[in-house]
């Protein structure tokens, strides 16, 4: 537990990105966002962010959550970053299991659900 916790939020919906980022930042997290898997991968690979957890939407254009997770797991430097599946799809638990996610959040959700799951997986903000 040293320094500020960092979370990467990957979602194609700008309002969701903003809402989640605001909520997490208010809680004391450092938050980076990406509009799809490809952007997220680039951010991670270029070392712009080194998150403690990734909040990952599944249905996104360009590179969806599954493809991102696949790429992430192939990359030894990124593979260990825990992922919370964050989705509106049906049967999210199965998807989360398949993607070996550390956590699961269903959309829509309450703030306290978000905060407790992020804290559980990524650690408390401070």
């Amino acid at each position: 537990m040293s320094g500020q916790r960092s979370i990467l939020v990957v979602d194609d919906d700008a309002d969701i990105r903003e809402s989640v980022a605001e909520a997490l930042e208010a809680e004391g997290y450092h938050v980076a966002t990406a509009a799809n898997g490809a952007v997220a991968l680039r951010l991670l690979r270029e070392r712009e962010v080194r998150p403690d957890a990734i909040l990952l939407d599944i249905m996104m254009p360009d590179m969806d959550g599954r493809a991102f997770r696949e790429e992430q797991m192939k990359d030894i430097r990124l593979a260990l970053i825990p992922v919370i599946v964050f989705t509106a799809i049906s049967a999210p638990a199965d998807t989360a299991r398949r993607l070996q996610a550390a956590g699961l959040l269903r959309k829509p959700l309450h703030l306290d659900e978000l905060l407790s799951e992020v804290a559980r997986v990524g650690g408390a903000a401070t």
């Binding site: 919906d13 309002d15 969701i16 903003e18 809402s19 989640v20 605001e22 909520a23 208010a26 249905m59 509106a88 799809i89 049906s90 049967a91 638990a93 199965d94 269903r106 959309k107 829509p108 959700l109 309450h110 703030l111 306290d112 978000l114």
Partner: protein
């Protein structure tokens, strides 16, 4: 002895001088001496060898045999006259000599004249004796012959003189004709004839014929003495003397009356048989062991077209057995004659036969062996069953058609994939109805296009498909596939030598393809869907089954009708499937899209609420409004979730995500979440879930069910207390009961509250999608459980969720019966 050949003489004399002298003398007299021997033994052997005309024999011979013994021996062996030579004659010798029957004695000495006279007399006497003996023998034979003839009883044998008068009469004549010899001898033989024969001069004519031909034979009626008639066979032979002059006639008459009667009987019997055969409805054909026709009745004449006289003597196989079966028939006959194996004898068989005009007919046949022995004959009873067969075939054909249609119906019903359906239908027409088949349907623009092609010969199916692909558009021909499509009227086209025009009928210009595929008969029927012609069924026979009949047309129309029906069904199904798919997709997308804006909305509300709470400002008004906005957002989320569930359930995609959980825990949790809502209308929720109840279920789904049931209880609970409990049921099941004491449910409504979009009460008073119980039941059933309701209107309801500990496969039915109690 002039002119005659010299007599040949044997000398038997033991005194050699006498013998030499005698030989000299005989030679001088012109005799031939064939031997001059001294002993009896030599005399016997020489006389046998030389066959002399005469032997001169000394009575007194020295040696074993004396002259008399020798003479007896010679006479015994030959017929040679013997003259004894003797110098003296004592009584005893003479007596003994006499017994041997000598032809003369010469007493020595004798002179030449005496010698010659004795020899000539002896030879003459010998010849005379022989003639007399022959005459005697002849007379005796004639006597015996006469006796024989007279004794014959079965034949009348008698002689006529030249004038025709009877001269002899035998027993047979007496027996047959009734006259005795005394009465008839001397009378003219015409008394044996009928008056009309006498008047026509028949008796004289017969004698004339006998004179001219040597012999006359006649068969006919003759008259007995008592006037009765008998059927006679008469042979008259002319008798001639040594000079060839006719001296009389021998007449032999036989009485054939009995035999004639027998023959007539036989003939009558044969005629009766013939009448039976002629009148018989069945063909009666008899053949000999060589297979040649012996009998051929009228029915056979009529059936096979050969007259009796044409058929008899010919080989039956050539007449009525079709060529390919002939050798089998011949082999069968030969085998039977050889081995006695006749597998077809006495059995009823059905086979093909051939008539004169080469037409084949179906016949029923049974064969019996008639004559026994080395050369048997066989009689076949043959019945033309062509008409019956045709009727049978017609029935079979109808059954076959029905089967074809049934099969087609089955095939058409077997798939809702429209092109597979049509392919199946096309195939079902083969080979019963067609050798190849094309199915054309109108596309959206109304153009006819091929949707299926089938050929009995799979190698040719591609050709048929190609022909269908290379169709040309409607050229406005007054017949053919496009005409049928335009008019909706079926057409039948016979074979044509003009491949090009046949091709045009089929709507193509590829006459070479048409030629290769072969068109013997072409049947084209419209496929009509809801009274509109939507396509054409093309059926083509290229093989030997020949032209299409009205019966085939009926079957084809039925088939086309069924194809039309199936096409319509498939189209409707397809459209329905498409609509369902579109709806499901819409619901999926809509649900997802609806949930997405809810996410920031909810988060923003929560964030603002929290910020407000943290700020320490006591702005109850603002906080209250925020909480309402949050509640309504949550409600909107639930509605969206319900819609999504609906789409999942109807698409059969309600996937469970099972995990081990404590149901009591879950229920306490859900109840807690509803406490505020219930409290608002004054209801309390009483939870009876103290002990853990573990099992594997889908946590969110079970939460959803319990939540739905609690929401309902709150909604319809009239503000009265609500109880929720969990307990272990029997057989490894657990039961969750949610009981309210509200308005209750009417009995007639109870049965349908679990239906989609159903509700127990009016929409106006109790808003909602009406999906809650439907989804609850679907989730329960997906777990292998059930939701049942009991209610007493006005007193409240109890909903029971029954869950097995271990969920069964999705889609299995649970014990979903409603109960009405209390």
């Amino acid at each position: 002895m002039s002119g005659a050949s010299p007599r040949r003489v044997l000398i038997v004399e033991d005194q050699r001088l006498v013998a030499a002298d005698l030989e000299d003398t005989l030679r001088r007299l012109g005799y031939i001496v064939v031997g001059n021997v001294a002993s009896g033994e030599e005399a016997i052997s020489r006389s046998v060898e030389a066959r002399p005309d005469l032997a001169l024999l000394d009575v007194r011979l020295r040696g074993e045999l004396d002259g008399i013994q020798t003479a007896a021996a010679i006479r015994e062996r030959t017929d040679i006259p013997v003259i004894y030579l003797t110098a003296y004659a004592d009584e005893d010798t003479v007596r003994r000599a006499m017994l041997t029957g000598p032809f003369g004695y010469l007493v020595k000495p004798f002179n030449e004249r005496e010698l010659r006279a004795a020899i000539d007399i002896a030879i003459y006497k010998h010849a005379t004796d022989r003639l007399l003996a022959e005459e005697r023998a002849r007379r005796q034979a004639a006597e015996e012959f006469k006796f024989l003839v007279e004794g014959v009883e079965d034949y009348a044998i008698y002689l006529l003189d030249l004038a025709g008068r009877v001269t002899t009469w035998n027993m047979g004549a007496q027996r047959i004709k009734g006259y005795d010899a005394a009465e008839i001898i001397g009378r003219h033989y015409s008394v044996f004839y009928l008056p009309e024969d006498i008047a026509s001069g028949k008796p004289e004519a017969e004698l004339r014929e006998a004179v001219e031909q040597g012999r006359a034979e006649d068969e006919g009626w003759r008259v007995r003495k008592d006037g009765s008639r008998f059927w006679a066979n008469v042979v008259i032979t002319a008798l001639r003397d040594d000079r060839g002059q006719v001296r009389g006639f021998a007449k032999v008459t036989r009485d054939l009356t009995a035999r004639r009667e027998a023959e007539l009987d036989l003939r009558r019997s044969a005629a009766r048989t013939q009448a039976i055969l002629t009148g018989a409805l069945d063909c009666v054909i008899t053949i000999d062991a060589g297979g040649r026709v012996l009998e051929w009745n009228r029915a056979a004449e009529e059936t096979f077209g050969y007259r009796r006289d044409e058929a008899i003597g010919r080989e039956m196989a050539e007449l009525i057995i079709p060529e390919p079966l002939r050798s089998k028939h011949r082999e069968g006959l030969a085998r039977y004659l050889h081995t006695g194996e006749g597998p077809i004898l006495g059995k009823r068989l059905e086979l093909q036969a051939m008539t004169r005009d080469r037409g084949e007919i179906a016949v029923e046949l049974s064969v019996v062996r008639v004559a026994e022995g080395a050369s048997p004959t066989f009689t076949g009873f043959v019945r033309d069953i062509t008409a019956r067969k045709r009727a049978e075939m017609e029935r079979e054909r109808r059954e076959e058609a029905q089967q074809l249609l049934d099969r087609a119906t089955l095939m058409l019903a077997g798939s809702l994939d429209i092109s597979e359906t049509i392919r199946n239908a096309a195939r079902s027409a083969l080979p019963g109805l067609a050798d190849w088949c094309l199915v054309d349907l109108a596309d959206e623009s109304g153009e006819l296009g091929q949707v299926a092609a089938a050929h009995v010969d799979l190698d040719k199916e591609e050709l048929a498909r190609r022909l269908g692909r290379e169709r040309i558009g409607d050229a406005g021909l007054p017949h053919g596939v496009h005409h049928v499509f335009r008019t909706g009227l079926a057409e039948v086209h016979p074979r044509s030598d003009d491949d090009a025009s046949t091709a045009r009928l089929l709507g193509t210009e590829r006459s070479s393809l048409v030629h290769e595929l072969g068109v013997e008969s072409y049947l084209c029927v419209p496929i009509t869907v809801r009274e509109r012609t939507q396509g054409v069924l093309n059926l083509i026979r290229s093989g030997p089954r020949g032209a299409y009949t009205p019966g085939d047309l009926w079957v084809a129309q039925e088939l086309a009708h069924r194809i039309g029906f199936a096409v319509d069904n498939a189209r409707l199904f397809h459209a329905a499937q498409e609509a369902i798919r579109a709806r499901d997709e819409f619901l999926q997308v809509a649900s997802h899209e609806l949930k997405t804006p809810l996410t920031p909305l909810q988060l923003q509300l929560d964030t603002v609420t929290r910020a407000l709470e943290k700020s320490g400002q006591q702005n109850e008004l603002l906080l209250g409004k925020l909480k309402m906005a949050t509640r309504q957002t949550a409600r909107l989320g639930r509605l969206v979730e319900s819609l999504l569930d609906m789409s999942r359930i109807t698409a059969g995609k309600l996937n469970l995500e099972v995990e081990y959980l404590d149901l009591s825990d879950l229920i306490r949790d859900v109840a807690e979440r509803h406490r505020a809502e219930a409290g608002k209308i004054g209801s309390g929720i009483k939870v009876l879930a103290d002990r853990p109840v573990g099992g594997r279920w889908d946590r969110l789904r079970i939460e959803q069910v319990v939540s739905n049931l609690l929401s309902n209880a709150i909604k319809y609970g009239a503000g009265k207390p609500i109880e929720v409990s969990v307990r272990e049921g029997g057989e490894g099941a657990v039961r969750v009961e949610v009981t309210d004491h509200g308005i209750g449910i009417e009995k007639d409504v109870l049965g349908r509250i679990f239906g989609r979009f159903e509700r127990g009460v009016s929409f106006r008073n109790y808003p909602g999608l009406g999906l809650g119980l439907f989804i609850a039941r679907q989730i329960a059933e997906a777990h292998g459980g059930a939701v049942v309701a009991r209610s007493q209107p006005g007193s409240g309801s109890t909903f029971t969720l029954v869950l097995p500990r271990q969920p069964v496969q999705q889609g299995a039915a649970g014990p979903g019966a409603e109960e009405t109690k209390r």
